[in-house]
């Protein structure tokens, strides 16, 4: 039994796969208005891919957790790309490097997030107003949908995508201090931008089409 298990581990072949980042358009049309982004950057580090968590009694759609905040059981790490980058969320595709992993199915991805910079113009029913935000995220972005398999014979090319329109759909663009620009000092820009950019559904890691 032990030998059989070791044989299974030995048979799991390493996989190396290129990863690139794809941002979005600087011009976004949302339900409540339009956004033009002059600048949208996020510092990120250490991309990890995880297998689905093992659930012993019940099927799990999101994952297995311990009944206490901060004790989620993600699946085991299936691959990783260590390093740090500043992602231009509205720039051209960027190569991030070559991730290393092991054969098998991937379910989710996670990475650390640092400083978020957003600058541009919001146009809503009441007119246009500029915004400028720099905020420390300092929390991991977890549970990013990553449904693909790592196959040593056909290593995939991976694409990390930011859905900026989804992320900024949470933002409230209220200018409250009368200085004519929406900043972290206004209303809820900071909290809503943080919520949007760290939402797991604002990101996907996918296998690129051949």
């Amino acid at each position: 039994m032990i030998l059989s298990l070791l044989a299974c581990i030995d048979a799991r072949a390493p996989v190396a796969m290129p990863v690139r980042f794809e941002g979005g358009s600087p011009d976004l049309q949302l339900e409540a208005g339009a956004i033009h982004l002059d600048r949208a950057e996020l510092e990120v580090a250490d991309l990890r891919m995880e297998s689905a968590p093992v659930a012993r009694w019940l099927p799990s759609l999101v994952g297995t957790a311990t009944a206490h905040p901060g004790h989620e059981f993600a699946g085991s790490v299936r691959g990783e790309l260590l390093g740090s980058w500043t992602l231009d969320l509205v720039g051209p595709p960027t190569d991030l490097g070559t991730a290393e992993g092991w054969e098998g199915d991937v379910a989710t991805a996670s990475f650390d997030a640092g400083t978020l910079v957003l600058a541009g113009t919001w146009t809503g029913p009441e007119g246009s107003i500029p915004f400028d935000l720099e905020v420390e995220v300092d929390r991991p972005i977890v549970g990013v949908e990553s449904l693909f398999s790592l196959d040593a014979d056909e290593p995939p090319s991976l694409s990390l995508s930011a859905h900026v329109d989804h992320a900024l759909g949470f933002v409230e663009w209220a200018e409250t201090d009368g200085d004519g620009i929406v900043t972290a000092a206004d209303g809820t820009l900071r909290n809503t931008a943080l919520f949007g950019i760290t939402s797991s559904t604002s990101w996907t890691l996918a296998q690129e089409s051949p």
Partner: protein, 241 residues
């Protein structure tokens, strides 16, 4: 062969058993209330009702099979002094890794109902919330050994303060009340679940981690009801969400 069969039957018939005592308790935080020092923002809460529907309590053997299971669901108001006995079950005397509990709707009864008052500064609101979340807790107590001829007690401990956490997955989540109190948008002195559902999470600075579908305060508190179960005090249990 002809001699060993009776011996085996005899051995099986005499396998030692013991008693698995199962109880639940809401501790002081539910019985007495949550004092201001527990809240990051100085609020305080008391419960007049904290009912849980415990629909399963099982002792699980190494094969994943139930060695003993509670016969019928129990609905317990944890504001009354506990611990509350749930079952006294005969089980093979041995060591076990896992106890399984399920807090789920039972007929018309919700899985969790919490009613009481929340006070922040000079303002107090009442609440009476019912949730239909269905949560199975897989708990691994430190030492779960049923002694032959003796008994061992396992407690499903319910943490009422979890309903007030400001995060669903971050380990630095804090107990806060202000956002819940301010959800009383019609200022009638009671925060309803409809009022909670009208409050978006994003502006609050609360964190949902991987649970991106949780976007309003009612869904947030409902999710937190799936974190109230612990074992033997502070022991953590796994859940599938």
């Amino acid at each position: 062969m002809t001699r060993s069969a009776p011996v085996l039957l005899l051995a099986a018939g005499c396998a030692p058993t013991g008693t698995w005592e199962v109880q639940t308790w809401g501790e002081d935080l539910i019985e007495q209330g949550i004092p201001a020092e527990v809240f990051e923002d100085g609020c305080a809460a008391t419960f007049t009702v904290f009912e849980v529907s415990i629909t399963e309590a099982s002792l699980v053997d190494g094969d994943g099979s139930d060695a003993a299971a509670m016969a019928s669901p129990a609905r317990i108001d944890l504001t009354s002094p506990g611990p509350h006995a749930l079952a006294s079950l005969e089980a093979p005397a041995t060591h076990y890794d896992t106890a399984r509990f399920r807090i789920a709707p039972d007929g018309d009864a919700p899985s969790v109902r919490a009613a009481g008052t929340l006070t922040c500064g000079a303002d107090t609101v009442a609440f009476d919330w019912s949730f239909d979340t269905d949560t199975t807790y897989r708990c691994e107590p430190e030492d779960l050994t049923i002694p032959g001829g003796g008994s061992h007690t396992t407690e499903l401990t319910v943490h009422g303060d979890h309903l007030f956490y400001d995060g669903l997955s971050n380990p630095d989540a804090l107990v806060r009340g202000t956002a819940l109190l301010e959800a009383d948008t019609n200022a009638d002195g009671e925060v309803t679940q409809d009022e909670l559902a009208a409050i978006p999470i994003a502006p609050l600075g609360y964190q949902v981690g991987p649970y991106a579908d949780v976007v309003d305060l009612e869904a947030f508190v409902a999710h937190l009801t799936q974190s109230v179960g612990h074992v033997d005090g502070e022991g953590h249990c796994g859940v599938d969400l």
